[in-house]
Each structure stands twice: as C-alpha cells, then as structure tokens.
Amino acid sequence: MSPEDSDRLWIRSSIGVVVGVLAFGILSGFVIMPVVQGAQAGIDPWTAICRALGISPGSPAAQQPRSAASGVPVSNVIWSPQVLNTLSSAPADAGRELAVGVCAACHGELGVSTDPAQFPNMAGQSSAAIYKQLHDYKSGARINDTMQSVVQDLTDTQMAEAAAYFARRARPPWDVTWVRTAGPEADRLARTGDSARGLPACESCHSPAAAGPVETPVLFAQTPQYLSVQMRAFKSGQRRSDLFGRMRDVAGKLSEREIDMLAQYYSEMR
C-alpha cells in the first residue's frame, strides 16, 4: 500500500470510528433507551424522545410525580435583582424624609437608637436585613404592635429606600473607655460553633464576609439586652419569621447562659 493510500485509510477509519461511536451514543441515549424505558412507564415514544432531548420536561423513564403539598412561607419577601438594586442604588437621601419623620423617634435620625436596649441601632446595618424586617412587619410574619402599624401603609420602594438610608449611616463608634468582657467561650461559639449539638458558627452567616442568606443582619453595635431578648424570642418561637427556622433552631439549642454570653460578645463588636 502506498503512503498516500495508507494515509487515506487512516483518515477514513478515524472519522468512521469517531462518528460511529457518536451515532451509537445518540441512538441509544435519545431513541432506544427512552422508548424502551418510556414504554415500561406508560409514556408514548414521542414524548419519551422529547424528554430525553430535554425539549419537554420530565423523565423519559417515569411519570411526572404529582404533589398536592403547597408550602406557605412565613416570610413573603422575594429577593429579586430589582429589590436588591433598589437597596443598593437608592438615591442617597431618598429615604431621609421617612426615616427622619417616622423612624427617628425610636431609631434616631442617624440610626443611633434613642433607647438601644429596646430599639435596635440601624446605622450601618445591612439594607437587605432592614428591608426584610420591615416587609415581615407589614405582612404580619413578624409581630410588634408599633412596627406593624408604622409600616402598614408603606410601599416596597419606601421600605427599601428607608433601609438604604440607614444602611449608609456611620456605625456608632466604640467608646475607648469601655472594657471588653466577652471571654473565649463566646468567641469559640461564635467562630467555630459546636458540632456536637449541631450548632453552626454564628459567623458562618453573620460575619460581613460570610455570604450567608442575603437577609442576615450584621451583628454589631447593639446592646446585650436587645440581642438577648431577640435570641430568647427565637428560642421560644415568639419570633418566627426566620426562613427555614434557622434562628429558631440555633437559639433553641443555646443555654440561657450562652445567650447572655453571645449577646455580650456581639454587643462589643464594631
């Protein structure tokens, strides 16, 4: 055989083998398997082939399962790019009027609370966290007489703008005369958690760099009183707008002493 003939044979057989194997895969995966398996599941051949190709939904080998269950979410907040966009790009002072006129009475004009043991500081908090809570008050997912009546007539945009306004205020500073008292036990719980009790580290969601659920508040500059009241509200189930019961689960596993310890720990965070 001449070199040219040999080259031609090599090329033809190479292409033949590669295309042949491909054709075998296509025929098996898109025709033979779906038609045979579909027939066993009572699916007609055409539907089975369309499903195998992915142009119609469902498995070619099983009937679509039907489910009568309908979940009722506790919180109705929908995180869409539009909502996040409003939160991040609301004009600097769009929410000022509402914030100063209404919220400031308790939360302070600059987001520094008038009574931080009772009303949380808002300055520097994540806008998504504030928006989520406002939305929950409005929908009734979170219960508080004052807040529910305040937000009742607000639109989503107004709530987002107020949230964005407070998120941009400077956080209350740490007073140099204060003494840090939280010990290593709280630090361990916050940063490592306790796997023996299925307790994740608080920081896995609450640290600013954790990329946890978007609505997670950043924990800093609150009073220990406020933080412990909230943890106890989750523990007792009185506060129940947390998605998937995450905080109810975590707080439910914390002892009373640990709640106080962590409240102290995070109150000293800046």
Partner: protein
C-alpha cells in the same frame, strides 16, 4: 560550567514550592475533619484552606510543571532551540503575578469559594483575575509549543514529529479547547458578578460551562505522566518503546474524549436531560481506551526490558526490571495506583452508580488517587530524571529518591482507601467538621484517623521531595550525558499523516463538542430560566 535550563527550572521550582505549601494545608484539613483537634480550627479557616490547597494543586502545581516540562521537551525532543524564549519568560512573569494575586486574595479570606467555579457564591474579583492570568500564561505556552512543532515540521518535511513533542502539542491543543469553557464562564458570568455589575447569575449555564473544562483539565494534568510512560520509562528500564503508533493513537484519543464528557460531573444536576447525560457517559467510557492501550504498550515495553535483562518465564521479567531506578519504580507505583483510581472512576462515570457516591469522600478519594497518586508521582520521577539537565547536577541520591516515592505511594493508598470506604458509608466531602459523638457516624472515626496518618506520610514525602531537589543546588556541577527520550522498537521514517498533526482531530473535536454540548448550552439562551442571586464572600451590599 553548569548547564542550566533556567526557564524550566523557574517553572518547576514555582510549581514544587507551591505544592509543598499546599500539602501542609491538606494535612491540616484532614485533622480538621478528624476526631482529633486541629489548631486554628474554624469552619471559615477550613474553607479558606480548601480553597488554597485546591487552587494550588489544581492550577499552580500542574500548570507550571506542564509548562516547564513542555519547554524542556520542545528543546530536547526536537533538538532545536526553543522559539520565542522571551515570550516564554513573559508568560512566566504573568503567571507568577497571577499566582501571587490569587493566593494573597485567598489568604485574606475574601475568596473562600473553593477551587471550583460554582456560582452563585462568588469571591473577590482579584482571585478570579489572578487565575485568569495563570491561564493566560498557559496559553502563551500553548502557542509556543504549537510554533515549535510547526517550525520543526517545516525544517523536516514528512518526518514524524518525535512522540514526546507530538504528545506535548496534543496537550497544548486540548488545553486551548478546555479553557474555552471556564474562560467563557469567568469572563461573562463570574467576573461581572464579582465586580457587582450583575446581581443574578444563571447557575445552570455556569455549571455546564465549568463541566466543559472539568474533565479535560484533569487530562491536561495527566499528559506529562503518560509522556513519561511512553518516552522515559522504557529507556530508564533499559528497553525500547513497544509501539510509537500506539502512543500517538492514545494521545489523540485523549484529545478527542476528554472534552465532550464533562457532563458526567452533572449527573445529579437537574438542568440537563437524560439523553445528553447518557451520550456523554458513552463518550466517557472511551476515555478508558487510551489508558488501556497505554497499560498494554508500557507493560509490553517493560517486558522487552525485563527479558533483555535476563528475565524468564511468564512473569520473570517483572522481577528482572531495574526497580532501583526511580523512573521505573515510579512507573510501577503509578500503575498500581491507577488500577484502584481507574476502577473508582468507572463507578463515578456510570450514570446509575454515580448517585451512590455523589458528593461523598469517594469522589475526593478518586481524584486524589488518580491525580495526586498516579500523575504526581510521575511528576516526581520526571523531575528526578531531568534534574541533572535542568539544575546542572543530579537530585539527592537514588536511595533518598526511592524513599520519597515509596512514602508517597504508601501515603496515598493509606489516605485514599479509607476515604473510598467512608464515601460508601456516606461521609460528605467539603464539610468542615463532624460530630463523632453522634452514634450514626461514630464508626467513621477510626477510618478517618487512618487516613490522617496517610496524609502525614504524604506531607513527609512532599518535603523530602523538595529537599531532594534542593540538594542539587548545593553540589558542584557535574558532567551529564545528553538527554534523550526512549526509542521505539520499530522506528519509522514516517508516521501516518493523521498521526503527525492535529487538523483532522480538531474538526472531530468540534463535531463531538457540538453534539455533546450544543443544545445543552443553547437551551440556556433559548429558554428564559430563573437566575440565582449572586452571593459574594467579599462583603454584602451596603
């Protein structure tokens, strides 16, 4: 005068220094997951460590090793000066800059996203840009390899390209195809998300694009090991390569069937239909063919060497092989690990059985055994083999080299066999810690402890490896024979045209990719699918 190959030396030292550091991270991760306490443990440190370990082992170690070894091969196999040497140095500069950028970002805790590109979780953009620069450096290497082969073919019309170089260029071409997937994902999806330009990302599309890269990248890493099997091991054993043609066919099959198969990483994903998963599984099966060809050819080559050395009978030639030579020993150990790793891989790639091991330690065990075992032990052997020609003086004594290779192989087996078993018991991968007081998983504890012991052997071996290589720099230069690759038993004046270039194969890769990935990618552009919100580790929106 010391004959230094500074270009190769620089690449290999960067690769191996990073590797030794990554081994420390690896052992620490194993401690973190074990019943023993790990110092500095927090879950966020664990994920930072996995990101650092994975990024270095997947992107720094192999990429720079392959580049350095490729430059070495181009000069020695073609017996010509490397073209575009300055560009090669520029590529090294870009690469080292990218590595520094990515590693600094990881260590600052702003890119704990693991080493896989699975949005919506995104890290700091500097991490991604750093890795893009590493890839850009490797593209420069690809271009230089292709130019070197083209120039040689022009100067030697009709002559067969030496097998080592043919394989290196096959890898370069495959790498260009490979990086198209993750490159598209990074440029159009992840980097805009990391920069805050987009708030949502189509996760199905990004997983599909990453799968395009995900299997072929492993073959990019694996090529040097196979190059050593074909072109170095037979010579080290004192024999000849049984078939040069079989080598060419194997390398071409790797080029063809490492690409249209990545969907076997997505068997449990909902965004693709069963038909395409089945098709890609069928194509994945073919990846075993070049490996079986290789086992056959190299065993035959070794048999030739063994019989030349007086080995008799059916298996007598095995004992007659010069196992004291590191390259021969490494080849034997690599083949041993390949049986286990390859067997596990067959289970992973089977559409049905995959469900059993999905996201368990089994998967981690598989790729550590194949890449960390079979492939990396050949990186060691290659380094020992070429070190006299690169560093001007041989590495530490063969006895120390053998000790290091044995430590590595034993460590890898002791580490990964328990992992396989733990995977079957259901232990998850990518989880920072386990509560071994829980009766449901308490039985895992002893297995995990055994694997930690394997990890300690691996770290000891890695440090010994670096020390072995460093010894060469403390010694005066020594005269060494010119380097040459193994010769084939039957040397031909010409190779079939189709096995002396890549034109036809590129067309066939395009056909296979179109069949395997055409509709699966197009569907994301045809349908209006829900996108996921981007989650950034670099900080939340204000």
């Amino acid at each position: 005068m010391r004959s230094l190959d500074r270009l190769t030396l620089a690449h290999l030292w960067l690769s191996f220094a990073a590797f030794a550091i990554a081994c420390v991270f690896g052992l620490w991760q194993m401690l973190a997951r074990s019943p023993w306490p790990a110092p500095f443990f927090t879950p966020s440190n664990y994920f930072l460590s996995v990101t650092a370990h994975g990024s270095i082992m997947a992107y720094v170690l192999p990429t720079f090793f392959i580049m350095g070894f490729g430059y070495f091969t181009a000069e020695r196999a073609l017996d010509r000066r490397l073209p575009l040497r300055r560009l090669a140095w520029a590529g090294f500069g870009i690469g080292i800059f990218g590595v520094a950028m990515a590693v600094a970002t990881i260590l600052s805790g702003r890119a704990s996203v693991l080493y896989t590109f699975y949005p919506p979780l995104t890290g700091s953009v500097w991490f991604y840009i750093g890795l893009v620069l590493v890839v850009a450096a490797s593209w420069i290497w690809c271009a230089i390899m292709i130019v070197a082969m083209r120039d040689w073919k022009r100067a030697n019309p009709g002559a067969p390209v030496p097998l080592a170089m043919f394989a290196t260029v096959a890898n370069a071409i495959m790498w260009l195809w490979t990086t198209a997937g993750v490159g598209t994902e990074l440029v159009f999806q992840i980097i805009p998300a990391a920069l805050g330009w987009t708030d949502s990302v189509d996760v199905g599309l990004s997983r599909t694009l990453f799968s395009w890269t995900l299997h072929a990248i492993v073959y990019f890493w694996l090529f040097p090991a196979y190059i050593a099997f074909y072109t170095m091991a037979p010579k080290a054993a004192g024999g000849r390569l049984y078939s040069d043609t079989m080598g060419r066919v194997s390398f071409v099959l790797f080029l063809l069937y490492s690409l249209p198969v990545g969907m076997h990483h997505l068997f449990m994903d909902p965004e693709h239909s069963t038909g395409f998963k089945f098709l890609q599984m069928t194509l994945t099966v073919l990846v075993t063919v070049p490996t079986l060809f290789t086992i056959f050819t190299i065993s035959a080559s070794m048999e030739i060497a063994g019989r030349l050395r007086g080995g008799k009978g059916l298996f007598g030639w095995i004992g007659a092989l010069p196992w004291e030579r590191p390259m021969v020993l490494a080849t034997g150990l690599a083949f041993f690990m390949l049986w286990f790793g390859g067997g596990g891989g067959l289970i992973n790639m089977s559409y049905g059985m995959n469900a059993m091991v999905h996201n368990t330690s089994w998967v981690t065990a598989h790729f550590h055994l194949i890449f960390g075992g079979t492939v990396v032990i050949m990186y060691f052997a290659i380094a020992y083999e070429i070190w006299p020609h690169v560093a001007g003086s041989p590495a530490n004594s063969p006895a120390r080299q053998r000790l290091q290779l044995w430590l590595w192989a034993i460590g890898m087996m002791v580490m990964t066999i328990p992992w396989h078993w733990l995977g079957l018991l259901g232990q998850w991968r990518r989880v920072a810690q386990f509560d071994y007081t829980n009766p449901l998983i308490a039985q895992w504890g002893p297995w995990v402890l055994v694997s930690v012991f394997g990890g300690a052997l691996l770290l000891a071996s890695a440090l010994l490896f670096v020390w072995n290589l460093a010894q060469a720099h403390r010694r005066p230069a020594s005269a060494v024979d010119a380097f040459s690759f193994a010769r084939a038993l039957h040397e031909h004046d010409r190779a079939p045209r189709v096995l002396n270039g890549f034109g036809v194969w590129n067309v066939l890769v395009a056909v296979l990719m179109l069949a395997a990935y055409g509709f699966p990618i197009a569907q994301f552009l045809i349908d209006d699918r829900p996108a996921a919100l981007v989650h950034r580790t670099s900080g939340r929106a204000p």
